[in-house]
């Protein structure tokens, strides 16, 4: 994708408006950053520094340019805060950065223009005490009552162990949106649910069974991942990243390692990147199978659920045999991977692929022809493509609502730059569409794995390197890891401190952008259809809460 055309035009436009931006290329694709044409083509991420007073104004220009809001986070340096926002268009990433001073830090809010930035800015506000001026909804978000009002955990003077009280007070008095009127009633659901799922609170306003409004209250799985990442070694950070969200362990671990490898300017062996690709696709297949089963289970179509769960289990068992871990945790390390694939393992995976294809070709017609299932999942939980675009919805949720974006295709990283595959996009936007997009993604993942294995077997010698030696990066060097996890685009920013230590780790799970879409897609559905709507989106609580 020849990228930089829009970026150059945009830059000229902004500099004409007196933004005075000097662009820097991000070392995204592991070539040494330079200014040659080849480098510009390969490094599809640029860093723009702007003044803080232009922060909100920039977002207005950006939305006119059809830039997608990707992620926002802050860093605390000695005397100032560095605030970052990441944007994307046509596969080119733009990292916007500004500096805010330590005394009474404030910044004009971009959430006024980009609804997607809303919760992220509230997170930054709770964590750093940076006041976002003009924010449409500046209620606390990540901050429950676990730490005192006015103390900001991600500032460097806040102790890592926190200031815990003997008993953590419950999250009382959160000002939920209210609805009044005859026949309107409130249903509080969670944070503890009857099933074995993560905690999160949902507040419904309903008339009879019809949902008038849904408000999410997340943050119950806040683990302080950003704080405990500080001062870690790269190996230890990779392990932590693998636990941001247990079901996306490969995705997050890969994104973190990619960011660290960029910062350290090291290149991983081709064999390692092929194995990373196989790991990521296997994670995608297993989770999609689980989700498809989950959707069936939520409408009490247990037969299909059992079949999908069985297939997922077979997949996980092969993982245990081949890679030594069912969920593929800690297989990816900074510099490469730790489990190699023998010829026998490749054969086993290939054989499993054809078996999975056979089984799916038997189950899917049975699912497709079941009119009672069809009746539940068609037209329910409809997400308008415009809303999906406004919230920057990612992965299968976005792609089922016409958001034609996939990092693997649009901003390819190794090994995806060497393969061709189809990205499933639909405009239907309902539960059924999210179900079928998952199925199509499984099929294309199977093809991808076959291509990776073919390359492993043919092009690479069996004893190829899988790990590059780690080089401690300079203090202050940073990296932006962007991969397509099974839920969608994962963006991870890492900055190094002195002595090979981590100064800042911010992983942006796709759930962060997908959760707000749930509040919209359940509107005009009935209360008992909420669980299946929620399952069709299946956001990660842990990945959102950090």
């Amino acid at each position: 994708m020849s990228s930089s055309n829009w970026a150059t035009d945009f830059l000229n436009q902004l500099n004409n408006a007196e933004f005075f931006i000097v662009p820097t290329l991000m070392n995204r694709h592991l070539t040494t950053a330079g200014q040659s044409d080849e480098d510009i083509k390969n490094n599809n991420a640029v860093l723009w520094n702007i003044e803080s007073k232009h922060w909100q104004q920039f977002s207005q220009y950006a939305i006119e340019q059809n830039l997608r809001w990707v992620a926002g986070w802050a860093e605390h340096a000695e005397t100032l805060f560095i605030v970052n926002a990441c944007f994307e268009r046509e596969g080119t990433y733009l990292l916007l950065r500004t500096h805010v001073n330590n005394e009474s830090p404030e910044l004009p809010s971009q959430a006024t223009v980009y609804p997607a930035a809303n919760r992220s800015e509230r997170h930054t506000q709770d964590m750093f005490g940076i006041n976002f001026i003009g924010h449409p909804d500046n209620r606390r978000w990540t901050q429950h009552k676990a730490w005192a009002v006015g103390s900001y955990p991600l500032r460097k003077d806040f102790p890592v162990q926190g200031e815990p009280q003997a008993v953590t007070p419950p999250d009382m008095d959160y000002p939920f949106v209210k609805a009044y009127g005859a026949g309107v009633y409130e249903i509080p659901v969670g944070p503890v649910h009857a099933g074995i799922i993560e905690p999160g609170h949902f507040r419904f306003q309903a008339v009879g069974e019809l949902i008038l409004n849904l408000e999410e209250r997340l943050g119950y799985t806040h683990k302080g991942i950003e704080k405990i990442a500080e001062d870690r070694t790269p190996e230890s950070l990779a392990r932590l990243a693998g636990r941001v969200s247990g079901d996306t362990t490969v995705g997050h671990c890969w994104a973190a390692c990619m960011a660290m490898e960029q910062a350290a300017d090291i290149q991983i062996p081709p064999r390692a990147s092929l194995i990373r690709g196989i790991l990521a696709e296997r994670e995608r297949i297993a989770n999609h199978l689980g989700d498809m089963g989950g959707i069936c289970n939520d409408v009490a179509f247990v037969f299909a659920q059992m079949q999908f769960t069985r297939l997922r289990e077979l997949c996980l068992r092969t993982n245990a045999t081949v890679f030594g871990h069912r969920l593929l945790m800690d297989r990816i390390v900074p510099g490469g991977v730790i489990s190699d694939l023998s010829a026998a393992s490749c054969a086993l995976i290939t054989q499993e692929i054809s078996q999975l294809r056979n089984e799916l070709s038997e189950i899917m017609p049975a699912v497709d022809l079941n009119s009672s299932l069809e009746d539940r999942i068609y037209t329910a939980g409809y997400l308008l493509p415009e809303i999906a675009a406004a919230f920057g919805t990612l992965g299968y949720v976005g792609r089922a609502s016409g958001q034609n974006f996939d990092v693997r295709r649009d901003s390819p990283y190794s090994p995806y730059d060497q393969v061709v595959f189809k990205v499933a996009v639909e405009n239907q936007g309902d539960i059924a569409s999210r179900f079928w997009v998952r199925y199509k993604e499984i099929l294309s993942s199977l093809k991808l794995i076959e291509q990776f294995i073919a390359q492993l077997v043919i092009a690479q010698p069996a004893d190829g390197e899988i790990l590059t030696e780690w080089q401690p990066p300079k203090a202050g060097s940073e990296g932006l890891g962007i991969v397509e996890g099974w839920r969608g685009e994962i963006v991870t920013h890492i900055r190094f401190d002195t002595d090979n230590k981590i100064a800042r780790f911010y992983p942006r799970d796709p759930s962060t952008l997908n959760w707000p879409a749930l509040e919209k897609l359940v509107l005009n559905n009935i209360v008992p259809d909420f669980p299946v709507c929620n399952k069709s989106l299946n956001g990660s609580y842990s990945g959102n809460d950090l």
């Binding site: 249903i187 037969f303 009672s372 539940r376 669980p531």
Partner: protein, 314 residues
């Protein structure tokens, strides 16, 4: 002697209900390619629950604690009305099918109140849904049952079953409509798929389970047992009204033994049919239930009409 058999039959009813639930679960598991739990698992679950201390909210009124006992007793009393292995029992003679429907309504009334008692959102939601569904299910059920009682010219179940046996194997157009009507109602009333899902953990989709979400320990055991009993009651009703052959007409040991064998076989078959249906269908959208029950009512009505037009003139 008659009274002794009547009491024994009711005891058998109560004792066998968990077995039927276990068998149904076994069939469903096998149909889903799963290993099934033992047939005795429902008994173990009930026993386990009785060992647990019930947790009762401070906000609960006497209603909450009384309801499990009321529901269980009412369901057991309903069971005395339905002939299980023998007809012409004194208990069956003293109460008819309308009383049985009344017992069910009585139990449901208290269950719905108990759902509201704690003031939780789920309990109220469950009670509201249960009442919506039962207001549609009860007329449909009565319509189906009246088709039968008009054929037999009695609302007494014992008498009606005896009448069907005496008439011999006749294909009645009215029964062709009444049987599916009663099957549909039975599925709705016992909270099975596609109306309700007894195995779900999703509070927002629950109907029956939402009402009893706050119950634990022996209270929950009683309510679970009552639901199993209700499932069996409907099973026996369908089996013995439409296929009464094998039921004991005299109280000899041999006849009673055959009666027991017959009803066991019939219930086992019925459970298989139910398990297959539950495997084939997803749960329907809540607002589809009214169409479903209206259809059941319509079938009942057609049964009644075909009785009047085709059979009553004879």
């Amino acid at each position: 002697m008659n009274w002794l058999i009547a009491i024994l039959q009711t005891a058998l009813f109560v004792a066998m209900a968990p077995l039927l639930a276990g068998w149904l679960k076994w069939c469903k598991c096998r149909l889903q390619n799963r290993k099934a739990p033992s047939l005795l698992q429902p008994y173990r679950d009930l026993l386990k629950l009785t060992h647990k201390q019930p947790v009762v909210s401070k906000q609960a009124s006497w209603l909450f604690i009384a309801t499990p006992y009321i529901v269980f007793s009412a369901t057991v009393l309903a069971a005395t009305v339905v002939p299980l292995i023998a007809v012409d029992l004194p208990t069956s003679a003293s109460a008819d099918v309308i009383v049985m429907v009344g017992f069910f309504a009585f139990a449901r009334f208290f269950l719905a109140l108990a759902g509201l008692d704690m003031g939780t959102a789920f309990g109220g939601m469950g009670s509201s849904r249960e009442m919506t569904i039962s207001s549609l299910a009860e007329p449909a059920m009565l319509m189906a049952v009246f088709t039968l009682t008009m054929t037999a010219s009695t609302t007494n179940l014992s008498g009606a079953i005896a009448h069907v046996i005496n008439e011999g194997m006749v294909l009645r157009p009215s029964f062709v409509f009444a049987l599916p009507a009663l099957l549909l109602v039975a599925i709705a009333e016992t909270g099975r798929i596609p109306v309700d899902n007894p195995a779900t953990h999703l509070e927002l989709t629950m109907i029956h389970e939402a009402m009893i979400l706050e119950y634990s320990g022996r209270h929950l055991a009683l309510i679970e047992w009552a639901s199993q009993l209700k499932l069996m009651l409907y099973g026996v009703l369908i089996a013995n009204i439409f296929f009464p052959w094998g039921i004991a007409e005299t109280f000899s040991a041999e006849a009673l033994g055959y009666g027991l064998l017959a009803i066991t076989g019939k219930l086992a078959l019925l459970a298989i049919v139910l398990a297959i249906a539950e495997t084939l269908f997803a749960k329907m959208r809540l607002f589809r239930v009214q169409e479903y029950l209206s259809f059941a009512y319509l079938l009942g009505l057609l049964g009644m009409l075909s009785h009047i037009i085709l059979e009553a003139a004879r």
